[in-house]
Amino acid sequence: MEDSATLAADPAMALKRAQQGKSYWRRVWERLREDKVTLAVIAVLGMLLIMVVFAPWFTIHDPYAGSVLRRLKPVGTPGHWLGTDEVGRDLWSRMLYGGRLSLLAGVAPVFLALLIGGFLGILAGYAGGLLNSAVMRLTDVLYAFPSILLAIAITGILGAGLQNTILALTISFIPPIIRISESVTTQVRHLDFVEAARASGARRLTIMRYHILSNVLGPILVYATSLISICIILAAGLSFLGLGVTPPSAEWGLMLNNLRQGIWASPLVAALPGVMIFITSMCFNLMSDGLRQAMDVRL
């Protein structure tokens, strides 16, 4: 055949390699394995997840037990190495426990929006026509709000709380995910191999299952991971405004808001919870960049 010459170098190896064929996902994995930064970032996120989920193993203090005597101790206080907050609760404990709600409120909305928005977007993109117009025009209405404004409006009106935060952020992230899913699906739908599948007499659902999904899920997923970083910042931001998680729960944004009152007494402690928000959001950003490169996706 045309490229038989390339097989010559090490026939046995080349034959084996050629016979197996390298699937797209295997190539993605191989590229990812080479990308040290992304691997490191994923490791950091994994560690963070473990520390947050198994918080009691990493601290001896109760995150909710305060003491008037130990208020706003600075970083490096014996027994409280990160200091204490405005009612004397151990900051390290609260950072760990706070990560639970912060991560939940940062990841869950994107996940839910991915399910709902991805479904609607792929449906609209694949069906085209009237259904597409209906979905996309409704999306345009939601798109008229900057996502933070929409989230604030929803929580502001429905009231604070974890559930409403997740609901509000989910609704804010549905429109961008619908847009991406729709455009990616529309692109794929017009490729020749989908026409060829139609020409083989396959039903729409079968084509969707074997030909569309495998080609659109990657880009949509990459896009969704890029939203996690924003979602973490926004979720903490809502709590910071008093619209998200309610006291006395530990949550990074809420802690930032409470500690702000002590900024004149101990500025360093006041800034600490923000560091966690920043690190987590940056890790998700870098992970998303790494995934995008490994999957060779253009958005």
Partner: protein
């Protein structure tokens, strides 16, 4: 569902199942009548349909069993739209397609699904027409699989077809499209088209994107497969040499209309329509004495949104006269050669064209 059952249920009761019908070959394998497709152009203030592109306009022809019908014309003349209309990948605005006398897509006629069993297509872009996420054997097996064959069975057929198109199954079955060369990919596409054991294969610029040497290999393969599987080809290309090489008959299209149709050797030797003549004289010739010095066709084809009135070729035709502006010529059989048909007033004695009387002498 079983393929066999499908045969029986879709066949018209009075005529019996497809396989038993039509032993006399009295009906052509494929008969296309008045096929028309106009695409709306978006534009205007509210995105209203302001204009229509007349991609294919009132096209009729037949394809006989076992022949290769070549379709040629400049790009944008409606060749590819015709292919997609034949496959029912896009719905025609008007006109009908009949396979062995059974109309497609009407009650009591042939279902689209059944049509796809009988007619398959190979696309121009060998890469875009294969799903990049599937090993090529799965792409080939997909057709039989959706028509009810088990997965293992379908993959076995894929292996046979790989063999048939000259690719060692053990070596190629599990590869992905990006791991193959263009020629190999186009062989895969041919195998995929054959997987449903169709009677007709439409080749839409199937070799146009290949290197010349690879193109020759694939053309030879197509010729072999045609004999081996008793196939009928509709071969669409802008490459006049390739069409002449492979076709029994050739159909020339201009701006969505058929201008000339007939046996390939006779059309090439003695073109009757001015457009065909211009097209063929633009062909590079090996014979220096036959080379033309003058560009036979000047300018671009007119805008298909607003094609010229009457004969669509008149704006570029050296023989154009007043009558050509008034009436569109019908595609009529030549008096001198019943196998050929031309749509030109020059060949109709009563048309009023000044050359009409002398047309026979040309």
């Amino acid at each position: 569902m079983s393929l066999l059952k499908h045969h029986v249920t879709t066949g018209d009761g009075a005529l019996g199942p497809l396989s038993q019908r039509d032993p006399s070959r009295s009906k052509p394998l494929l008969a296309i009548e008045h096929l028309t497709k106009h695409f709306p152009l978006q534009g205007g203030l509210f995105g209203r349909r302001r204009a229509m592109v007349q991609a294919v306009d009132d096209v009729s022809f037949v394809v006989e069993r076992g022949e290769t019908l070549g379709i040629v014309g400049e790009s944008g003349c409606g060749k590819s739209t015709t292919a997609r209309l034949l496959m029912h990948l896009i719905k025609p605005d008007r006109g009908s397609i009949a396979f062995r006398g059974q109309r497609v897509g009407v009650a009591g006629g042939l279902s689209q699904r059944e049509l796809h069993r009988q007619m398959q297509m190979v696309f121009q872009d060998s890469y875009a027409s294969l799903n990049p996420r599937l090993p090529v054997a799965m792409s080939i097996a997909f057709g039989p699989f959706v028509h009810g064959l088990g997965k293992t069975e379908a993959l076995r057929r894929a292996a046979e077809l790989l063999e048939a198109v000259g690719l060692e199954p053990a070596l190629f079955a599990n590869r992905y499209p990006h791991e193959l060369s263009g020629g190999q990919r186009q062989r895969i596409n041919v195998a995929r088209a054959l997987a449903l054991e169709p009677r007709i294969v439409i080749l839409d610029e199937a070799v146009s994107a290949l290197d010349k040497s690879v193109e020759a290999q694939v053309l030879n393969l197509l010729a072999d497969l045609k004999v081996r599987f008793d196939l009928t080809y509709v071969f669409i290309s802008h490459d006049l040499n390739v069409v002449r090489y492979i076709s029994d008959r050739v159909m020339v299209m201009y701006l969505g209309k058929v201008v000339e149709i007939g046996p390939a050797d006779r059309v090439y030797r003695d073109p009757q329509h001015p457009y065909t003549r211009a097209l063929l004289s633009a062909m590079p010739s090996m014979d220096p004495r036959r080379r033309t010095r003058q560009a036979p066709l000047s300018g671009d084809p007119p805008n298909p949104v607003r094609p010229p009135s009457g004969c669509r070729f008149r704006t570029r035709c050296p023989l154009a006269e007043a009558v050509c502006e008034k009436a569109a010529p019908a595609l009529l059989a030549l008096p001198s050669d019943g196998a050929r048909a031309v749509a030109c007033h020059v060949h109709v004695p009563t048309s009023g064209h000044t050359r009409a009387a002398t047309a026979g002498a040309e």
